[in-house]
């Protein structure tokens, strides 16, 4: 007790100390992000600018716009976009708010997950944060500085979104609401990432956990919005549902954003509490002892690469299979909705066409995500090189070619297994709810038919790795972004044909909707093989981990 008393003055001082150095850290974090954050904000602005100017070109009159709306106000359309408010009287801004803004919210969520993880757990894992914390810096200053940078970034992003929306002639009130929705959704995910950063010792796992929350938010919103026009109860459970429920340019409701703000406050508080419960560099999940001997499978370059890639393979695989099961299980709801469709539309789509179109779309959607997995996995291999572990392996009789080849092969096998597993899962879910076993085969075809495109892009990552490793991340993610935009919006954005052709997915038949075409499959597989060989030749020529 005396000790407590004696310590009292110290504790009193420590109440003021936790944020020492905050200003310097905020300036330092902004300095580190001086290119990244403006690039994100510019990207979001360009997205709106493009849509704002492309929409009048795609749908020059009310009739065209109305016909586009019918398609996307349907359950499948709502599932992948939003609750479709105000579609009885569509306008460009309403179309934007319904179909494009939801992706704005996903992007800003990703921006915040990366931002927070980068400045908190990634720094702690690398040991750099130890230098900061051992300096005259308060215990909570790094976390607080990251959140301050997030607040600044989200404010700027929201302002940019509002200004650009107004600039493309959308009404002011709704535009301000879209901007506020962007900023507050970003803040909510900054809070979520601040929590997950406390849970794992690894920045990859931390951002992965936050990504799972984002994925779950998407699925909840999709299910909620699919169930009813304007959303249902489930839409209101999802952090991605709230900004959509503001119904910009239609109802202009501000109330749903209170939920986003509340979530941000709750998660940020939780992050501080969790950090107070753990030691520096530690996680809340304890580490168990493992095997003293390596299994025989670990003794080859491929075995080692497979082991290194294993964790992220299971993470991505589990997430995608779950997504596939949910998507598949919606087949019956889709068919029921199809029956309620206007007769004219039923004629166009027909239940047969609706089912195969939905499966083809799911196959494409999942395959693009698997492509993102292949890039993230090749970045793991790049991390091996940058952190010096590749040196140790390459100092044994393992050639550079076999080292990179093993990683690429492990990723290729992982991508193929993932693709087939999701295809089977989606098919079984769809088959169970509809009672049509044939859907399993259709679903596998819809997914597996796109494997050549996945492999071609994996080969592109290997080429970048072999010749220009520094470009792997920036070029890779730009390509993924491009392919994803094409996959989701290709018909809606009216992109020029020559541009669309750059996506390998555009060349493959959309099974089971279209019939199988052997030529593009062969060409893409040959390209993938050539690219892989070229990349392996590249790594033979280049030095390892030159700073």
């Amino acid at each position: 007790m005396t000790a407590t008393l004696a310590n009292a003055p110290v504790r009193d001082r420590s109440l003021r100390a936790p944020l020492t150095g905050l200003g310097t850290l905020v300036a330092f974090f902004l300095r580190r992000d001086r290119i990244r954050l403006p690039a994100w904000i510019a990207g979001l602005s360009l997205y709106i600018l493009y849509i704002g100017s492309a929409l009048p070109a795609i749908a020059p009159d009310r009739e065209t716009l109305k016909s586009m709306v019918t398609l996307f106000a349907e359950p499948v359309g709502r599932m992948f976009t939003g609750p479709a408010f105000g579609m009885d009287a569509p306008s460009y801004e309403r179309f934007f708010a319904s179909y494009y803004a939801p992706y704005l919210f996903i992007l800003v969520a990703l921006m915040n997950i990366f931002l927070i993880t980068r400045h908190t757990r990634a720094e702690e894992q690398s040991g750099r944060a130890e230098l900061i914390r051992s300096n005259v810096t308060g215990r909570y200053a790094p976390l607080t500085a990251s959140l301050v940078v997030a607040v600044i970034s989200n404010f700027l992003a929201g302002t940019a979104v509002s200004l650009v929306s107004v600039a493309v002639d959308f009404p002011v009130a709704g535009s301000v609401l879209v901007g506020a929705g962007t900023a507050l959704t970003g803040l909510a995910f900054a809070g979520i990432a601040a929590v997950t950063a406390q849970l794992s010792e690894f920045s990859r796992t931390a951002s992965g956990l936050a990504g799972i929350v984002l994925g779950a938010s998407f699925v909840l919103r999709a299910m909620g919005d699919m169930a009813a026009m304007g959303g249902s109860a489930l839409s209101w459970v999802s952090p991605l549902g709230w900004p959509a429920q503001t119904a910009p340019y239609v109802l202009n409701r501000w109330a749903p954003l209170a939920l986003s703000l509340l979530l941000a406050l709750v998660t940020v508080t939780a992050a501080y509490v969790l950090q107070s419960l753990r030691d520096f560099g530690a996680s809340l999940i304890a580490v168990r002892p493992g095997s003293a001997r390596a299994r025989p499978s670990l003794g080859s370059p491929f075995g080692l690469a497979a082991r290194i890639q294993r964790t992220s393979f299971f993470g991505w695989g589990a997430g995608l299979i779950a997504l596939g099961l949910v998507d598949g299980a919606f087949m019956q709801a889709l068919l029921d909705a199809g029956e309620d469709m206007p007769a004219a539309l039923q004629e166009i789509l027909g239940s047969e066409e609706l089912v195969s179109g939905y499966l083809a779309f799911l196959g494409l959607f999942i395959s693009v995500l698997i492509t993102a997995y292949t890039l993230s996995a090749m970045q793991t291999a790049r991390g091996e090189e940058l952190q010096g572990r590749a040196d140790l392996v390459l100092a044994t009789p393992v050639s550079r070619t076999s080292w990179l080849g093993s990683h690429a092969a492990a990723v290729a096998v992982g991508a193929i297994l993932m693709n087939l597993a999701v295809g089977v899962g989606t098919g079984i879910a769809a088959g169970v709810v509809t009672g049509q076993a044939s859907l399993i085969g259709d679903s596998i075809a819809a997914h597996a038919g796109l494997l050549p495109a996945i492999l071609v892009l994996l080969a592109l990552w290997v080429v970048l790795f072999g010749y220009a490793p520094r470009l792997l991340a920036p070029v890779g993610w730009a390509v993924i972004g491009f392919v994803a935009v094409l996959a989701i919006f290709s018909d809606l954005l009216d992109l020029p044909r020559w541009l669309v052709q750059f996506s390998p997915f555009a060349h493959l038949a959309a099974l089971p909707q279209e019939s199988f075409n052997f030529t593009p499959v062969t060409i893409l597989l040959v390209l993938a093989a050539l690219g892989g060989v070229a990349g392996l030749f590249g790594i033979r020529q280049r030095e390892i981990n030159v700073t």
Binding site: P289, G290, A294, L298, L394, V546, T547
Partner: protein, 309 residues
């Protein structure tokens, strides 16, 4: 016995942008010797070793390991060598034991008895995940996997950085054993006592160049001997004797440095002064190094400094 050098570099040059990390490096290591590789941070030690491993490609000059090119013949050469970096990074979710096995299997067969014996000697718990290891423990993993392998050459880049003094002793025993088995060792180190105890020959690198090479006694010949002498008469006159440097007198004891080839004249000049006690010691490795890369050495040469890594 085959006396062709295990490592031989001729006029090796490696630049990173504007930095000349290796600037005409000439290094020769003969079979069966422990070769100390000394130099300040950024002198080019790690760059040399990474070139020898074929991880970097030299800009010009030649490097040979066992008479082969380390860049082109990396894989066959790596069957015959093991490498320990100064900063070991391991896979956080593999245990230390798994990591040792992986390296050993990639190199060939693993001798489990020897592995367990080394784990015991280095006091390493192989069941712990690498993420929980301290720097010293990660270093042990790399050391054990190098020592367990049946190779002819050990490339050690500050291998005991982070090890405690007890483990340092174990390390020195292990290297001595490796030497009796006829293995060749290139030992880059900052621990001079370690190099003095283990190395047959030493090369000193500065700004990407080898500035001195030879056995410790050969190197000592080139440097002045320190003498502390107590005399009954003043020694101030000694300052004028050829070969005497840095004469200072404190509490009746004179300290001076003598060029080895002038030893005789200095001793003759000392004799009439009434020598009451005399201590002479050869230059320490530390003095050798300070001579080559201390502040005075920097005055001599204005060459740009290289950088490690």
């Amino acid at each position: 016995m085959n006396k062709a050098p295990v490592i031989a570099t001729r006029n090796l040059v490696k630049t990173f942008g504007n930095t000349r990390a290796l600037d005409g490096l000439e290094l020769e290591v003969t079979p069966g010797e422990v070769h100390g590789f000394l130099g300040p941070n950024g002198a080019g030690k790690s760059t040399t070793i990474r070139v020898l491993l074929g991880l970097l490609r030299a800009d010009s000059g030649s490097a040979q390991l066992f008479g082969q090119d380390p860049w082109a013949d990396a894989v066959p050469l790596h069957r015959r060598l093991a490498y320990v970096p100064g900063d070991v990074e391991l896979w956080p979710n593999l245990t230390g034991g798994e990591a040792i096995d992986v390296f050993a299997r990639l190199r060939g067969q693993i001798d489990h008895r020897r592995r367990d014996e080394l784990c015991e000697r280095f006091d390493l718990d192989p069941t712990k995940k690498a993420r929980t290891y301290s720097k010293g423990n990660r270093q042990k993993v790399a050391l054990i996997s190098a020592l367990v392998s049946d190779v002819e050459l050990l490339l050690l880049d500050e291998p005991t950085a982070g090890l405690d003094p007890l483990m340092e002793v174990v390390f020195q025993q292990c290297i001595a054993e490796a030497k009796t088995q006829g293995k060749t060792v290139l030992l880059s180190s900052h621990i001079l006592a370690q190099v003095e105890a283990l190395a047959d020959r030493i090369s000193i690198i500065r700004s990407g160049k080898i500035v001195e090479t030879g056995s410790l006694s050969e190197l000592r010949h080139m440097t002045r001997t320190t003498i502390e002498v107590e005399t009954s008469r003043p020694t101030t006159s000694l300052a004028n004797v050829p070969g005497v440097h840095d004469l200072s007198i404190k509490d009746g004891v004179s300290h001076l440095l003598i060029d080895r080839d002038q030893m005789e004249g200095v001793v003759q000049a000392l004799a009439p002064l009434g020598v009451q006690s005399l201590i002479a010691h050869p230059p320490t490795l530390e003095q050798l190094l300070i001579r080559h890369y201390g502040p005075e050495a920097e005055k001599d040469e204005s060459a740009p400094r290289g950088q490690d890594q």
